[in-house]
């Protein structure tokens, strides 16, 4: 068993800054992430001054990094069971910081299971990982502030952006733009994306009705206001803003809402010694995540003056988060056809689910959410489609090897 003063789950900007700030105060830190490198989703493959210095700061003798490592179970006595590509470990913490970030909300629509249909951030991540995009025709649809940087990124890499279809109304988007104008840095960023996207058709009040193709997406049908039309394309990037990753917090027994881990102003969850920072505390963006990384280190080390200073900063950043949440609320969805797949892992359709009373019944009777992703896609989708709440979270949190689970027997021979 390895023991640490603080274990941080998630090596995105929040977790990286927390690790660095804790190590600078003499704490022994473990930083865990399921990706092959630090940076989270937003800093994947990004190489600038901010990312270089954040990555360099992790080379501290006080920081142990566990990459490609998944949390399989949260255990009694402040322990975690984690799985690496070749091994498994029990890790003990005095304090636990959950920086588990967010994922895209992917909502079902006819044809969304076809190869070539990806998340919006998903397509960007795949391109950064080597997928060719030059000359490909891409339609980006859904809602959320992620649309803009991703569209600009794809275009810079040679994609032909056929159109951007945003579900929100124009007045709502204008209100958001006016709010952004209060923050010169953010406004500047928005203007730079807009400049990179000159000439790309942008439609508000628009959504995807169906994606066509037999073995790959070849086209998409869009509803724009009263009109419908068909667009030919190679890829459809679909996303409906972000949802926080709450499963680890829920497994620990922390109180959560559908959009955040519940915390105090000083980041404490409802479980002693457990803190939450970054997107898992509610979608707040990069600067908010970084500020909360610093704040949690100050709080854990009882550094009152640094706490006060970073708390102030966090409050400012959270105001922007509130504006984002108010603008890009879960969209109104057109009714699904009965044969539209909702649970991709188990191929459960809307027709099989629409009369189910709740998530638990759908799991037990239809196997909805019982596949390898363990409801990470359809759980959030069914919450929007049918208003189902989440069921209790049980270990293993991710599919795990038998040898990993056998470690549990080693510590507690009477455990199930």
């Amino acid at each position: 068993m390895h023991s640490y003063d603080v274990i941080i789950i998630g090596a995105g900007p929040a977790g990286m800054h927390a690790a660095q700030a804790l190590a600078s105060r003499g704490q022994q830190v473990a930083l865990i992430d399921d990706n092959p490198a630090a940076g989270g989703q937003i800093w994947r493959g990004v190489n600038n001054h901010a990312t270089q210095s954040a990555r360099a700061a992790l080379h501290s003798p006080l920081i142990t990094t566990y990459y490609q490592t998944r949390v399989i179970a949260t255990l009694a006595a402040q322990q975690l069971l984690v799985e690496t590509p070749n091994d498994a470990h029990l890790l003990h913490y005095r304090h636990l910081v959950i920086a588990s970030g967010a994922r895209e909300l992917l909502l079902p629509v006819a044809g969304w299971t076809l190869p070539g249909v990806t998340g919006i951030g998903g397509l960007q991540a795949l391109v950064k990982a080597g997928m060719p995009i030059t000359g490909k025709r891409v339609v980006i649809a859904g809602t959320g502030p992620l649309i803009w940087p991703v569209a600009a990124f794809l275009r810079t890499h040679g994609a032909h952006i056929v159109a951007i279809a945003e579900q929100q109304s124009l007045p709502r988007l204008v209100r958001f733009g006016l709010h952004l104008a209060r923050y010169p840095g953010k406004l500047w960023q928005a203007m730079s994306y807009a400049t990179q996207l000159i000439g790309v058709p942008f439609w508000h009040d628009s959504h995807v009705i169906a994606i066509s193709g037999t073995t790959h997406s070849t086209g998409v049908r869009i509803q724009r206001g009263e009109h419908q039309f068909q667009l030919a394309c190679d890829y459809v990037a679909l996303g409906h803003h972000l949802v926080p990753n709450l499963d680890i917090a829920q497994s620990l027994g922390c109180a959560t809402t559908p959009t955040a881990i519940t915390t105090t102003d000083l980041l404490a969850t409802t479980i002693p010694h457990v803190y939450a920072i970054g997107e898992a505390r509610g979608i707040g963006g990069l600067d908010c995540a970084i500020a909360e990384g610093h704040l949690v280190a100050a709080v854990i080390c009882q550094d009152a003056s640094a706490s006060a200073q970073w708390h102030q900063r966090v409050q400012t950043e959270r105001r922007i988060a509130t504006a984002i949440a108010a603008t890009f609320t879960p969209p109104h969805l057109p009714p699904l056809a009965a044969d539209t797949i909702v649970c991709r892992c188990e191929d459960v359709s809307h027709g099989q689910l629409q009369h189910a009373p709740d998530w638990r019944t759908a799991k037990l009777q239809q196997r909805c959410g019982m596949g390898p992703c363990q409801g990470r896609i359809c759980g959030a989708a069914t919450q929007h489609l049918y208003g189902w709440g989440p069921d209790a979270v049980r270990p293993p949190l991710r599919p795990a090897r038998v040898a990993t689970l056998a470690l549990l027997h080693a510590i507690s021979p009477t455990a199930e």
């Binding site: 399921d34 990706n35 092959p36 989703q41 493959g45 490609q68 994922r103 895209e104 992917l106 299971t113 076809l114 190869p115 070539g116 249909v117 990806t118 998340g119 951030g121 998903g122 397509l123 960007q124 991540a125 795949l126 950064k128 990982a129 080597g130 997928m131 060719p132 490909k136 073995t215 790959h216 190679d234 890829y235 797949i341 991709r344 892992c345 188990e346 191929d347 596949g371 390898p372 992703c373 990470r376 896609i377 599919p399």
Partner: protein, 87 residues
Amino acid sequence: MATITVFINNHPYTCDAGNSVAGAIAQAHQQLVTTRQSVHGMPRTAVCGMGICFECRVTINSNAHQLACQTPVATGMQITYEETGYA
């Protein structure tokens, strides 16, 4: 960027060393291709790109159900998936 050789369904393929397995497969075919059949036989491949949806799972060095999007390529890596006749 440095390149390395991996084997995709037993065919050697030279790709960028910084690629993920999902990126390498897409590079080899110049597009995303079907790498899995769903329980009802529908074509599927990577969607979320970040280890959430599990749609990209392939066999890597004889270990089944590895996430192609979260696994970096390595020299000599054997990547296999069922070729279904889907493009």
